[in-house]
Amino acid sequence: MENLVEAKALTKHFGTFEAVRGIDVEVRRGEAFGFLGPNGAGKSSTMRMISCVSGRTGGELKVLGMDPDVDGPKIRARLGVVPQLDNLDTELTVRQNLQVYGRYFGMSRQKCREKATELLEFAQLSDRADHEVEPLSGGMKRRLTIARSLVNDPELLLLDEPTTGLDPQARHLLWDRLFRLKQDGVTLIITTHYMDEAEQLCDRLVVMDGGRIAAEGSPAELIGRYSTREVLELRFQPGAPKPDLERFAERVEVLPDRLLLYTQDGEHTLGKVHEAGVQPVQSLVRRSSLEDVFLKLTGRTLVD
């Protein structure tokens, strides 16, 4: 299968700070690939290198088969980029934002007009077409930013924290749009620190921490490899000593506010905990998630 992105030992330094410390990544055509990690893991720096905006410090990088250092503009012509922070032209209308951006790719005015109308439909912003951008809600701005990134029919779409700061409803609407793009064969690269987003959207992902890749695989593979089927979460009175429950589970994680017991059968484990006379304030059995994978790999939670 064809690789749209190939990175080998890729590094990025800012002065003495090493943001990316040698990562190997391959992104295949047609897949949705994720970079999962906490803030400061090096995800955005990696994205900026892949989007051919920021040069690499070391290692090899090929995007669409070309070297960004040599063919930056040529590669960027075939990419779509959704930045972490919206950079829409807030003094232009919704439609003008799309048309002006199309021109940056050298498209004819006629083509820009057609494309804008089509994308307004896609982003469900047709009724706002001739409004200024500034008063739009966060979710609408985000949708417009995504629509704008599609103006050149990109083969590869890069989304940096696409739903950060949005309410649940706006996030689901966005995810729906991204699914549709995936169906249409657009290759997606997504960075996120939301495990549910990664699980929903990504076929394959890497877990990043401290500028390195800690693990790679599909969400299900990663969970299978690094976690148990279920997790029993127990909450105790704040300040109360947490009992030692190692003998009831394959692994126990002690978080400030709760205990996580990794086990194949959460209900069964909960029964045994109760039998032993331990009385948590609250208990919850759930399936393992990427959050647990991350905790296992780094000893830290993703969102704190």
């Binding site: 503009p73 960027r76 790719f105």
Partner: protein, 257 residues
Amino acid sequence: MQTLKASWFGFEKHWTWYRRNWRATVVTSFLTPVLFLLALGIGFGSQVQSTALIGGVPYLQYIAPALVVVTALQGATFEATYAIMSAFLWQKTYVGMVATPITPAQVLYGQVLWIGAQLFARSAVFVVIAVLLGAAAGPGLLWSVPLGTLAGLAFACPLIAYSARLDKPDSFTTIFRFVLMPMMLFTGAYFPVSQLPDWLVPLVWLTPAWHGIELARGTAFGTLDLLPALGHIAFLTAMTAAGIALAVKTFHRRLAV
């Protein structure tokens, strides 16, 4: 060719904005010359006796070409400070542009192109109003339009390079107060620089304002010789070119990291 096209698209963006918002800007570009010419040229000028030193012409006509330059410099200062900072930090429109085939240098060229066009249009409006108010000594005043634009760019370009390095706008007020204001007042627009103390004159020579005013006034009254004219143009062109070269560096450093 590629660069020219890409820079043009940046210009087009501004034009799109202008087509929606020109009404707001038109008030300033018409009002400024009217107020300046009325207050300083006609009002204050009525009390000024013409001397040989100012060529024996009415004061209104004496200051008209210089005011075109001064207004251009004023406009250039605003265009090269807050507008630039906003495109980097507040609206981040530059950041969006470099995600396309457009390079940081082309983003800059588009911006300079737009500032130049605006300065040209403002200067043209100024000259038209000057003619209507009887401030034009002859057709030579038309030269003030391109010359005012050039002087404006000579100040704008280095200022863009400077603004592109900042993270907060605090120093802009300092520039307005301690660079722009004295440069507008003491470089020969309202009185000949020969009236200044000797030690100050070399400093005046370093300002784009003085070169622009010398050119605009000299061409308006036909008193300028070729050699000094070329010298002034060379100075302003060099300042523009150096400013652009510096700004290309700062734009690249800021947008491509």
